[in-house]
Subunit: 337 residues, 2 copies
C-alpha cells in the first residue's frame, strides 16, 4: 500500500536516506542491478513504498541518454489523411509492441510546414529514441531529414525512390497482382485500376501489380485512374471510368476506401456489382466487410505492420541491425467480385 504522500514528489535521495543507504545503492536496487545485499534491497523497496516513490522520467532520460519514447510520424499535406482507419490499426499494433519494450508512443501529424519543422526538431533534439515514418510522398522533406539524422528511423511502407535502410512494407505489388489475376480468372477482361496517388510508394506498387497481371494475362492495362485513397476520390474515379471506358467489367481499387466509393458510384449509376462490374479493394479494413455488397479485397496485416515497425525500431535502438521486412498479403473473396 503506497501511503498517500504530499504533492511534492520524493526523490531518490529521500528514498536512500529513509532506507539508510547511499543513493548509488538505492539506484542499483531500483534498477535490479547486481551488487546490492538482500537486506538493503528490501530496505529500499520498503522506502519506495512508504514514500510512493516513482523515478523521474526526465532525469533518468538525461542520465541514460534514452528518452523511452518512440515517435510515429504521419506525413501528408493535410491532417485529414490521418482519418484513414488504416493508421488507427497501425497504431494499435505499434502501441502494443512498444508497450512490451516499455516505450511510450509519441504521435506527430506532420501536415503543415510547422509540423514538419517540429519533426525535424524532434529528430535533432533527442526528443525521442527513434522514429517511425509513414505516408511519405515523393520528395517528402522528411525523407532527407531521416537520412541526415543520427536517430534510428524505420519507414512504414517504402516511399518512391531508393529504398530506405530500414522499412516494413506490405507486398503491394503481389497483392495487387493477385487481385487482378482473380478478376481475370473470373472472366473479366476489361479491368481498370483506380489507383492511389502515384507519388506514393503504395500507389505505384499497387498499380504496377495490376499492370503486371494484365500484361501477363495478355490483356491491355488501362492507364491509371488516380485517386487519393479517400472514398470520394474513389467515387469520382469510378465516375470518370464509366464515362471514358464504359465497357469496363472489373475494377481493382488500390484501397478499400476508394473501392467503397466505386461501389457507391456504381450503385447510383444503376450498375450491379458484381454482375455488371466486379470490384476488388485493398487493405481489408472494417469498411470492406460492411460495404454493400461486401467488398472482395486484399488483406494486408495492418496491425502487424505497426507491430513489426515497432519491433524493428526497438532493435535499432538496442544497437542491432535488423533487416527490412515485407509482409504477405492475401485475397479475401466476398460478394463484390
Amino acid at each position: 500500500m503506497a501511503e498517500d504522500v504530499a504533492r511534492r514528489r520524493s526523490t531518490l535521495d529521500e528514498v536512500a536516506e529513509l532506507a539508510g543507504v547511499s543513493r548509488s545503492v538505492a539506484s542499483r536496487a531500483l534498477n535490479n542491478a547486481p551488487h546490492v545485499s538482500r537486506a538493503k534491497r528490501e530496505a529500499v523497496e520498503r522506502a519506495v513504498r512508504r514514500l510512493g516513490y516513482v523515478p523521474n522520467t526526465t532525469a533518468r532520460a538525461l542520465a541514460t541518454r534514452r528518452t523511452g519514447v518512440a515517435a510515429l510520424v504521419v506525413s501528408g499535406e493535410d491532417p485529414s489523411i490521418f482519418a484513414d482507419p488504416f493508421f488507427a490499426q497501425v497504431i494499435v499494433g505499434a502501441s502494443g509492441a512498444l508497450e512490451e519494450a516499455d516505450l511510450h508512443l509519441m504521435l506527430c501529424l506532420a501536415a503543415s510546414d510547422r509540423g514538419r519543422r517540429r519533426v525535424e526538431d524532434l529528430l535533432r533534439s533527442r526528443g525521442a529514441d527513434g522514429v517511425m515514418l509513414m505516408a511519405l510522398r515523393e520528395n517528402d522533406p522528411l525523407i532527407r531529414m531521416a537520412e541526415e539524422t543520427a536517430m534510428p528511423v524505420v519507414f512504414g511502407g517504402r516511399p518512391v525512390g531508393p529504398a530506405p535502410r530500414w522499412y516494413v512494407d506490405a507486398d503491394n505489388v503481389g497483392g495487387a497482382r493477385e487481385a487482378t489475376e482473380y478478376l481475370v480468372s473470373r472472366g473479366r477482361t476489361r479491368v481498370a485500376a483506380i489507383c492511389g496517388r502515384l507519388d506514393t510508394g503504395v500507389g505505384r506498387a499497387r498499380y504496377r501489380g495490376y499492370r503486371d497481371a494484365m500484361l501477363a494475362a495478355g490483356l491491355s492495362p488501362l492507364p491509371p485512374q488516380e485517386g487519393d485513397f479517400t472514398e470520394p476520390s474513389g467515387a469520382a474515379a469510378m465516375a470518370a471510368l464509366l464515362v471514358n471506358h464504359p465497357e469496363v467489367d472489373g475494377v481493382f481499387a488500390a484501397n478499400d476506401n476508394m473501392g467503397v466509393g466505386a461501389l457507391r458510384t456504381l450503385r447510383e449509376a444503376g450498375r450491379t456489382v458484381p454482375d455488371d462490374i466486379a470490384v476488388v479493394g485493398f487493405d481489408d479494413l472494417a469498411v470492406a466487410r460492411v460495404a454493400d455488397p461486401p467488398l472482395t479485397t486484399v488483406q494486408q496485416p495492418v496491425q502487424a505492420l505497426g507491430r513489426k515497425m515497432a519491433h524493428m525500431l526497438v532493435a535499432l535502438v538496442n544497437g542491432q541491425d535488423p533487416t527490412p521486412l515485407i509482409l504477405p498479403t492475401r485475397l479475401i473473396v466476398r460478394a463484390s467480385a
Copy 2:
C-alpha cells in the same frame, strides 16, 4: 545554412564558447530572454547556426520541470475501441492545438492492466505535463488515478458518476433528444433506441435524451437495446429489435457505427429505410455520409472536441483554471430518416 556537423550533438557550452559568451548569455539569447546585448545575441545566433545546435529537450525539461508533452489516454477493455474513427478526429483536433502551444502528443492506449499501470506511472513520474482522458467506463481505475495525481487532467466526455473538475463534452442529451424529436415529428411513434454501453457517460446521456424526448411527446420509450458502439453490435441490436419489437418504425442509434449496422440488418431483413423504419445516428463521421441510404445523424464537433481539450489542458498547465465546456450538437438530415 546549418553546416553539416559531426554526429555528436553540440551543447550549449560549445555554442557559448564559440560565440565568446557565457553559458547564461547563450541560454538567454536562445530563449529570447531580455538582458542580452544585440551584439552577443547575434554572435550566439551565428554560433548556433554554425554548429547546427538544437537544445536538448530532456535537459531543458529537467531544468524547467516541463516536459513539453501532453498525453492522450484512450481507455478501454481492448485496443479495438481505438479503431473507431472518432478518435482519429479527436487526435487531429488535439494535435493541431498542441502544435500551437508547442507541445508534443503522447498517445496511450490503456487497454491492458499493463497499459493502465503505464499510465499511472506516467502520471506519477512526471512523464508529461498533463493528460487528456477518454472513453472511460464506470469505475474505470483511471478515474481514481486522475483524482490522485497532481498532474492536470482533462476529461474528454464525462464518465458515469460525479462530473470531473475539468472536461469537454458534447451535448449528448440534447443531441439525442433532438434526433428523437425529429423522428417523432416525422410521424414515427414506435421509436426504439440502440444505445451504447450504459456504463459510459455517453451511452447513458444519449439514452436519456431519447427517453426524455419520448416522454415529452407522450410516447413510451422502449427499454435500452444495448450495443458497444461498433457496427456489428448495432446490427445485432437491430436484429434483436426486429424480433422483440417488430412494430418499431423508427430507431435512434447512439452512434453512426451502430446506425450503419442497423441499416445493414434492415437491408438484409428486407425492410426499407426510411419507409418502413427510419434511422438516425450520432457523430456524423464519414461512415454516415457514405452509408446506403446516407444516415441522418447528430453532428458533434469531434475535431473541436479534441482541440478544446488541448486548449483546456494548455490553460491548466499554465496555471489557469478553465471552466468545463459542453459543445453543441446539430441534426444533419439525410435520407435515412
